[in-house]
């Protein structure tokens, strides 16, 4: 059993690249070892901006023996009736240089075949790693930006590679593997020899280097919170930043200090962003109040370093003053004037200026309000749409693009616009990808919807590399269509907007006029199919099964909140005997009436018994289903449908549907068609797979995760 230890040291890797890098290295190492049949007991990793480290413990001595096969004729054809080898076999044996008796049977895709089998001894672990590791490292970094290096994100400064205390020799990215590591470049720059993983970890610990990503995150979280508490408040917004902060230091230190008084004049959103983006710092708040302090992260031990503290205070003061300077200048030009300047700001080189976009927004929000029946919202939405993009002309948004909307909202508030208007401007970028927060008011909802839909329509209208004729995005999603679509769908679904998207999209196409390359029909068709797929994705992520989504969609609703209620109804009955029976009956109905022409029930022909019972049951169920459906209570509708089941069962047993008499046959089929149509008002039940394992989002995640080592999911940044 062997222990392998690998550390690649480099110059500072950006925080955004660190996690992908360590993850990729670990997953590939796992996959390579597994696919070679090399067992091992455990893996752990460390990652800082200047090093990534992996330990594999309990590793086999070497690669297992491998069979090398030269395949010949099928066993079935290898011997004649007398059990003698056929000529084909003899020829093959001669070709591969063994007697026929020396061939062995091996299973293949085309059945058992005869083969010459050679046993190749596996390489020793050291040999295997020597060739494997450099290739694996290169592949792991292949997709990341590289600066000053061809194979690694940043120039390599050293490599440690030990197998049971012996160096695994290889060259990579200008570095040669050895048995040494180093601590922090300022505080412990001297190299030290490493014996094994525990020794390595101990050595780093002694130097104050907290090598585990997650461990640093936890430490920073505690220390930032403690420091803020000591200042009488809590750190505002630090949690969201901790991942990035942890990725940008080796010695997690924290420093606090005073903010300049000018900081209090800034909108809190701007102050918070300046501190986070420019300084890896957080403001301190108590209740709703901002306290005049900051807490910031360092890459050095706490304490001592008065220079570091004083320097940070001055640096932060400077950044805050810059923001104040910009914001004060921004405020001197009111939003209305800024909206006029949008005439000069390009939205998209083919889709015109932001002024044109704003004009389209106005049209779309008005139409949306109309369609939704939100007439009292129209005026607010129009005003918000006129001003929504104005903050793009501010320096504050120029410096921090993520504040688009927020700055405009804050300015609108201070310029005295009513709450629905400034909130709509403020909230226009919600929901953020992965965020749950929606716009607070109706004006904000329609504005956010119109903004995204307008952009999508424009991009689908352009010939180019955005979208192929099938509406698929090429090379992943270079123009960010998917997040746009996801945001749009979540606004409508989570916001419960009964909105006709097709209507809105058609208007958007008209509004673009000459800008677009394709005709309306083509754009709308491709957009619809794209949105449809994104809808599946969004609903799947919400835990609905693909079969449920298909079934609910088949009911033909274009109203997304209604679609979701149908799905919730189906989910409520998921796994029940009722639903299982509904499905099997629906399938039976489908088989029976699929080919049949539409007929009508003829009450004259009712012969009593099972037939009349079904007729009565239908008469009883129809209003119940209708009522429940009309109110969106789809579980109840399904239960009402289930009341038809006994009558249908009896009908199937006792009634001959395919009667020779045309009139009787049409009439009986019509009874079944009625039942089927009734069910179809809720969902296409036949499409459900009640017995199949319904994939939930959790399970989907688990399925996905199974491609990577299970321990990695929870311990990828494990520290010990």
């Amino acid at each position: 059993m062997g222990d392998f230890l690998l550390e690649v040291r480099s110059q500072e890797i950006p925080a955004t690249q660190l996690k992908p890098l360590i993850r990729s290295v670990t997953v590939r190492l796992f996959e390579e070892l597994t696919s070679r049949g090399v067992p091992f007991e455990a893996m752990s990793t460390v990652a800082t901006l200047r090093r990534i480290g992996v330990s594999v413990r309990g590793l086999a001595e070497g690669e297992p023996e491998r069979e090398k096969l030269s395949l010949g004729p099928a066993v079935a054809e290898a011997f004649d009736d007398d059990g003698q080898p056929t000529p084909a076999v003899e020829t093959f044996a001669e070709q591969v240089g063994v007697e026929v008796e020396g061939l062995e049977a091996r299973p293949t895709e085309r059945g058992e075949v005869l083969a010459r089998v050679d046993i190749e001894p596996g390489r020793s672990m050291a040999e295997a790693l020597q060739s494997l590791v450099p290739r694996l490292l290169k592949e792991s970094a292949a997709k990341l930006d590289k600066v000053g290096s061809d194979v690694w994100p940043r120039p390599i400064t050293g490599i440690l590679a030990l197998l049971d205390g012996d160096v695994v020799p290889f060259d990579f990215g200008g570095g040669t593997s050895g048995r040494e590591s180093v601590g922090h470049p300022i505080f412990s720059p001297d190299s030290f020899e490493v014996e094994d993983w525990p020794h390595y970890r101990r050595q780093l610990d002694e130097r104050g280097v907290v090598a585990g990503l997650e461990a640093r995150r936890v430490i920073l979280e505690e220390r930032v919170a403690a420091r803020a508490a000591a200042l009488g408040g809590e750190s505002a917004g630090a949690i969201a930043q901790l991942g990035r902060w942890a990725a940008s230091c080796e010695i997690p230190g924290v420093v606090d200090g005073d903010l300049p008084p000018e900081a209090m004049a800034l909108p809190f959103e701007l102050l918070r962003t300046v501190l986070a983006e420019r300084q890896e710092a957080a403001a301190v708040t108590r209740g709703g109040d901002v306290l005049p302090f900051f807490v910031a992260v360092m890459d050095r031990p706490d304490g001592a370093g008065e220079a570091a503290r004083e320097g940070r205070r001055r640096a932060i003061a400077g950044d805050v003053l810059d923001a104040v300077f910009d914001y004060e200048r921004d405020r001197q030009v009111p939003l209305v004037e800024r909206a006029r300047r949008l005439e000069q700001l390009t939205f998209h080189h083919r889709l015109g200026t932001y002024a044109e976009k704003s004009e389209r927004l106005r049209e779309l929000v008005a139409l949306a309000c109309d369609d939704l029946g939100w007439h009292e919202t129209t005026a607010h939405a129009l005003e918000a749409a006129s001003l929504a993009k104005a903050d793009l002309t501010t320096s504050a948004v120029g410096s921090f693009p993520a504040l688009h909307g927020v700055i405009g909202g804050v300015m609108a508030r201070s310029e005295g616009y009513v709450e629905p208007v400034w909130q709509a401007i403020y909230d226009q970028t919600l929901p953020t990808p992965g965020g749950a927060e929606l716009p607070r008011g109706r004006a904000g909802q329609v504005l956010a919807v119109a903004d995204r839909l307008g952009t999508l329509v424009g991009l689908f209208g352009l010939d180019g590399d955005a979208v192929d004729p099938e509406g698929r995005t090429q090379r992943g999603d270079p123009r960010g269509l998917r997040p746009l679509a996801a945001g749009l769908l979540r606004l409508i679904i989570d916001g419960g907007m009964h909105l006709d998207l097709d209507l809105l999209a058609a208007r958007a196409v008209l509004l673009y006029g000459e800008h677009l390359d394709f005709d309306a029909e083509s754009i709308l068709r491709r957009l619809q199919s794209f949105l449809d797929r994104r809808l599946d994705h969004v609903l799947g992520a919400a835990g609905f099964g693909a079969d449920e989504i298909e079934a609910a969609k088949a009911a033909g609703t274009r109203d997304l909140p209604d679609l979701v209620r149908r799905l919730e109804g189906l989910r409520e009955l998921r796994g029940t005997a009722e639903l299982r029976q509904l499905v099997s009956t629906a399938r039976r109905l489908a088989r029976m009436v699929d080919e049949a022409p539409e007929g009508e029930i003829d009450p004259e022909l009712l012969v009593g018994g099972a037939e009349s019972e079904l007729f009565d049951a239908l008469a009883d169920a129809t209003p119940r289903v209708d009522a429940a459906t009309a109110e969106g209570r789809y579980a109840e509708a399904l239960r009402a449908l289930a009341r038809l089941l006994p009558a249908l069962d009896r009908f199937f047993i006792e009634v001959l549907v395919m009667d020779e008499d045309d009139a009787k046959r049409v009439h009986r089929l019509a009874l079944l068609q009625t039942a089927r149509r009734l069910g179809g008002r809720v969902a296409r039940l036949a499409a459900l797979e009640p017995d199949a394992h319904v994939t939930t989002d959790l399970e989907a995640a688990a399925l996905h995760a199974s491609r990577i080592p299970p321990w990695l999911a929870s311990r990828s940044s494990k520290t010990d």
Binding site: A281, G318, R341, G398
Partner: protein
């Protein structure tokens, strides 16, 4: 490397930094004679990065960014400051970072008392079509400088490991001397003050106030526009005449004027992008012309190229600065693409700066000459006077208020 005494003045810091890079084999150059927003746009850096020869140089360059004027209200952001710029072709990629650390120790920083960070940063100098990626160098949260592996210059991929790095000289001095702000950085050590008046801090602030007042309230928009138009026309004429270095210079000289226009709020987005586009086009053309002009000239023999330059340039001012005026004239470009102080620009060693009169070493001389009148006969001379396009008298009177 660190000597016993550590520098306590601006000049001491400059000496240490230039000395350090000189010891690394960098030619220490004079600054170019007119305003640039970024040391990288000094023609000795910009053009030399493009040509096929080897090159390693360092210089202190006065920087002008009128839109950074804060009237002395900001602890370290100023319209004028000094930048120490280093360019290094064919560098061993892992070397420069360690040299940056060493250079800071050489200046006297006990880094164990500080928090030194190298933070990912892209560099995009819009007007010069320069792109690269590297790190901003942050000391205790202060953006002290930057270090970038360049990918392209004038839109041309470099194809060889090239590093540019810079320090905000006054920022380094401020941090080193633990001055309260950039205006408090001493020019003279206490012991040397006998006979020399101090009082510098307030005076430097006053200078920044003037710059701020001028850029935000006073500058004559029509005059600036006319000047930019004239410069552009002249750049085009020079390109047609086969004088790419002079064309480059004229293109560069448009930049601070555009920056003032922007500070005045007179530059619309469209006009800004059009005018910057024009600068970019002239610069790219100049770069092409430069490369053509050095074809057949031994790439590493700089003086040859100088001599090959237009005769007008070898006139009066040449002896002052050792390198030929041709290149001196062409110079910096602006590094701030969109909003004021984009991270890229910012991160650089841009800040620092000192107001009027604060002209230590490098630019002092040319600064005086520019006080005189902007009309100059000889192109080279004109170039050196470039700063005179900032009429001092006007701003002084207004700044007073």
């Amino acid at each position: 490397m660190t000597t016993a005494s550590t520098p306590t003045t601006l000049q001491g810091v400059i000496e240490r930094l230039t000395g350090f890079w000189h010891a690394q084999g960098c030619a220490v150059l004079p600054p170019c004679s007119f305003e640039v927003p970024l040391g990288l746009l000094h023609p000795e850096a910009f053009f030399r990065l493009l040509d096929p020869g080897p090159w390693r140089a360092a210089f202190v360059q006065p920087i002008s960014r009128p839109s950074d004027a804060r009237g002395g209200e900001h602890p370290y952001r100023t319209a004028r400051h000094l930048q120490l710029q280093v360019v290094w072709k064919d560098v061993e990629p892992r070397q420069p970072r360690d040299l940056v650390i060493k250079s800071l120790r050489h200046v006297g920083f006990e880094l164990e008392q500080h928090d030194l960070r190298f933070v990912d940063q892209r560099l995009h100098v819009e007007a010069g079509e320069v792109r690269g990626r590297g790190w901003r160098v942050m000391l205790d949260g202060l953006r002290l400088g930057r270090m970038t592996f360049l990918e392209s210059v004038a839109g041309t991929a470099l194809g060889r490991p090239t590093v540019e790095l810079s320090y905000g000289v006054e920022l380094v001095a401020m941090a080193r001397t633990q001055a309260a702000d950039i205006f408090a950085v001493p020019w003279l050590a206490a012991a040397e003050l006998a006979g020399a008046s101090d009082g510098a801090r307030a005076k430097r602030r006053e200078g920044e106030k003037e710059l701020h007042a001028y850029a935000v309230h006073v500058a004559d928009v029509e005059y600036l526009r006319r000047s930019v138009d004239d410069l552009d026309a002249e750049a085009l004429r020079c390109l047609d005449a086969g004088l790419p270095r002079i064309a480059y210079e004229h293109a560069m000289r448009m930049l601070p004027l555009l920056d003032v226009l922007e500070s005045r709020g007179a530059l619309s987005f469209r006009e800004r992008s059009q005018r910057l586009g024009a600068v970019r086009a002239r610069v790219t053309e100049s770069a092409r012309g430069y490369l053509e002009s050095i074809r057949g000239v031994a790439p590493h023999r700089r003086s040859d190229r100088g001599a090959a330059g237009p005769p007008t340039d070898s006139g009066a001012p040449a002896e002052k600065l050792q390198s030929p005026p041709v290149e001196l004239d062409a110079s910096g470009v602006l590094d701030k693409p969109s909003g004021p102080r984009e991270p890229a620009g910012d991160a650089g060693g841009e800040l620092g700066g000192d107001p009027e009169g604060a002209e230590p070493a490098a630019s002092g001389e040319s600064r005086d000459s520019q006080g005189s009148d902007p009309e100059a006969a000889v192109p080279a001379k004109k170039a050196r006077r470039k700063r005179s396009s900032r009429p001092r008298g006007k701003s002084a009177s207004k700044g007073k208020s």
